[in-house]
Point group: C2
Chain length 233, copies 2
Amino acid sequence: MIDFNALLKISYGMYVVSSGNKDKKNGFICNSVMQVTAEPAQFAVCCNKNNFTAGIIEKTGSFSISALQKDTSPEILSKFGFKSGRDIDKFKGLDLKYGDTGVPILLSDTVAVIECKLKQTIDAGTHFIFIGELISSEIINDSAEMLTYDYYRNFKKGFTPKNATTFVDKSKLTQVIASEVFQKYKCTVCGYIYDEAKGDEPEIKAGTTFKDLPDDWVCPVCGAPKSDFIKLQ
Amino acid sequence: MIDFNALLKISYGMYVVSSGNKDKKNGFICNSVMQVTAEPAQFAVCCNKNNFTAGIIEKTGSFSISALQKDTSPEILSKFGFKSGRDIDKFKGLDLKYGDTGVPILLSDTVAVIECKLKQTIDAGTHFIFIGELISSEIINDSAEMLTYDYYRNFKKGFTPKNATTFVDKSKLTQVIASEVFQKYKCTVCGYIYDEAKGDEPEIKAGTTFKDLPDDWVCPVCGAPKSDFIKLQ
């Protein structure tokens, strides 16, 4: 028996994994990051083969990991999680630096950064596992708490992109039965669903209808305005 | 520049990874666990090559992951984290079951379990990365919170075994300067250090001397009695 709800009991942080150089660079939101050895310190990151960043890591042989802070802006979660670097420059307007290997390292909304030189590329099917050796690391903001995947899903009600290692079709998860009196509205930018039965706590109380939301309310995940929402049937 | 404090900003859960069968079985505490693909669902676990469990996973071709709950007993943390299955039967007296592949699966103090069939073994130097495909998964205790590595380190003041991927020599970390009036005592079983300046919050207030600890106080990590502690110079 497979219960996909059990897979949600694996804990992760939330990171932006970046690669490239000053001329060409990209990054993506990644939760599948872990240290794999201590001496020397090596880290593994999972990257969908379709991600624009995958080819850049293979070509340049280095990547960086920016551990995101708990109150990371919707702008960063939206750009790095749901948009492609083939279409936009995700780093535009954000703080970044370049590491010893020349790799871009996101600094905005970041607790700590780790720079790695690629040592092994593992083919795991839909994803590559890139294993890199630690080149440099630095605390950027020691007073900020780390953003965990659990917090992102349960408190920010954030969605998981289809390219993520942990994507699960919602139909496979146990449904929470909400009152049928309330409607749901979907953000067409990132897929977030505003459920009137649940509201957008703590600011927007459970039971607040979509039309009663303030005009300046925006999608808590990607920052899209109310006009980007459609009503679900 | 490498700041090893930055490496502590990677988030993990805490798991017991087990392998074997009814006759021969073992497991170890592991924080380096992550999902690496969604379709099919595959998981990676890191295991020191010296761990007794490493050889058992290679031989039997399967492993299980038990996601530990926040209030996991010191007995489980001590046995699976700091003792070797070459010396003791770690499962003795604990709840367990056997999966479809015959692998032992720890159920005590467990939130959810995942059973995997080994697909790839990656040599990462000191550690193997075992990649397994999901065979079965189940929620064991949905009301329990998950134990995170961050909570284990910062609130339970737990130590990291030398075989772990995230082991860092304390000398590499920024020291917190405590008042020199207070002494420190080390648990000879697991390495936990009772620092009089910090106490053992919330029960034992900061500033409580070792001799003023209740006689029935035990090591918060492994449960060893006061008599197993030695004073540090």
